[in-house]
Symmetry: C2
Subunit: 344 residues, 2 copies
């Protein structure tokens, strides 16, 4: 499968145009495209520009309401519950994190949830944004689209239910952990399918419960496995309980789900000023990362700080462009033409 | 290695006596012994009654200060930072969780940390206690005793850095996830050593960086691995950053550490009343667990809800007694005799 390299500016302008042409106000269209481009830039292609077409389908089907605004349905000084009103998920999630950071600034700790929320994309964007405002952020997200088996069980049950944690640093690059609590995000299997590649045998099982390296067998009745065996399975539950059960979002396996893919979201923000103070926290984090980087690596390996692979990939792709599988690019070209956009 | 079955009452009375004879007030001595017995009852032998002798050593060496009281060193309406004053760790951790729950009752969400804190034992005790008070509790703990390699690196760096989450339920048994972010707790390797058993090859490496099944090779210059590869390694960092860097506890690998083993602790408590409400949360959790239990199991397997293995083991051991390795029992007998306790 051929990969097509696209410059960042071009793919961002195209995404903005695609969303704007479908009724999303320009600033908001650009924000959504930016977040998808940022996911591709950091190497999270599973959450990247391939969503240009997916979101377009969801707009057509009425699942993403282009003019809707998220709004607070209930709040206290340190908490809020946000009704996403099926606005674009990125808009809801960014609003949620802004509320969480503001409440943590005023009240030192906050918890903010959202329901009726569309796909919010790469969740590390929001926690990383919060860390840049000087607060520690945790995010637990339910994916209301079953694709992962329970530990010891057959069939799809949980979503890929990611979690993310980001903390403020000083001189060090931002610390960011952001991943699906399944072996991999569903999108990574889709990308293997788009690239006509095999997947590792320990990621998934086919419809008969046998390990499979065929991404088509995962789509056709198979399922993903939780990462880290029973321990990762526990975190699948945690993201489901905090992201969905607590916020009143869709939970559990629902074969008749409308819309087909939702996110239930909970963010927790902690202000270091209530503890050792922000400056001491930054210094402590920097020191810890430096100590870890000074560890002798295993032969043929190297020690990475969480967030570092993303930074490295971003620097490379900013220079070289974003590699996109040929079929994905053709889909983007097709919808761009349908919408009458200029591709040059 | 022979295992000796001891009835719960006897081992609890003995532990209370051991700690009381060393200057810990009776009620507090009983509380500490109770938590260690509870760990053994739930199958977490690594955090169980084997600590009768370890804690006794630490009292003798002055690391555990028998009469010290934890106290709040700074607080806001929704946060607190507690100076453990090197009191017994269980006393500090229970106080911390009581403060966290009270603040979450009043202010809907709280974050409470502790420094100068001795080993707090099985952390699931505290989150489970909070869940029984109707709040969701998360706990991130740094173990200031390096035993786990960084991903891709050689040698001990992080502690086993556990995390735990517990949530209120309705009719369902309590949901509890509670584990080391290493493949296993260090105590599980010690128990294999005490039982003269091998360990699985994927748990640890020897001093030369080779996989080993020999618990002695782990002690003699080897190290544990994080669970779930890179994803678990990220959580090692999270427990270190939240438990230690944020609270001003010892962090990073320190070969000259005094006292030899510390815990840095952060608890987050969330009141469901600020979201869907406690009753709806209980019902939602119950429904999710029932759905998971209804999943068809893999052949030869069964589906367990996090917390269920602990409940099953506890029921069995309440009936049958607690199995203790012969050498561990001999150590307990020895110190009991030294302290002039009645063993019958």
């Amino acid at each position: 499968m051929e990969m097509i390299l696209q410059p960042v500016d071009k793919i961002l302008k195209l995404g903005t145009g695609i969303f704007e042409a479908q009724g999303i106000p320009q600033e908001r269209a650009k924000f959504i495209a930016q977040l998808l481009v940022e996911a591709s830039l950091t190497g999270h292609d599973s959450h990247g520009v391939r969503y240009y077409t997916t979101y377009s389908d969801r707009i057509k089907e009425g699942h993403i309401k282009v003019g809707a605004e998220p709004e607070i349905s209930q709040e206290t000084e340190n908490t809020a519950l946000i009704d996403g009103n099926w606005a674009p998920g990125q808009v809801t999630a960014q609003y949620l994190m802004e509320v969480a950071v503001e409440k943590a600034r005023q009240g030192m700790v906050s918890a903010v949830g959202a329901f009726k929320c569309n796909h919010i994309g790469r969740i590390g964007y929001y926690t990383d944004w919060a860390a840049k405002q000087g607060v520690i952020a945790l995010m637990f997200v339910n994916v209301g689209h079953p694709s992962v088996a329970v530990h010891g069980g057959l069939g799809e049950f949980f979503g890929t239910n990611p979690l993310s944690v980001a903390v403020p640093t000083g001189e060090a690059k931002p610390f960011l952990t952001d991943y699906a609590t399944s072996m991999v995000a569903s999108g990574k299997v889709s990308i293997a399918r788009e690239k006509h590649e095999k997947i590792p045998l320990h990621w998934a099982k086919d419809k008969d419960g046998n390990p499979t390296d065929d991404p088509l067998a995962v789509r056709d009745g198979g399922w993903l496995l939780p990462f880290g065996s029973y321990k990762g399975y526990c975190l699948q539950f945690v993201s489901e309980l905090l992201g969905a059960v607590l916020t009143g979002s869709r939970t559990g396996p629902d074969p008749d789900r409308i819309p087909p893919s939702t996110n239930g979201v909970l963010a927790i923000a902690i202000n270091p000023e209530a503890f050792v103070g922000l400056e001491q926290f930054r210094q402590g984090a920097d020191k810890l990362f430096a100590q870890a980087k000074a560890v002798e690596p295993e032969p043929g390996s190297r020690v990475l700080i969480p967030g570092e692979p993303e930074w490295e990939t971003k620097e490379k792709r900013m220079r070289e462009g974003i590699p996109i599988p040929e079929e994905t690019w053709e889909d983007i070209v097709k919808i761009s033409k349908e919408l009458g956009l200029d591709l040059d």
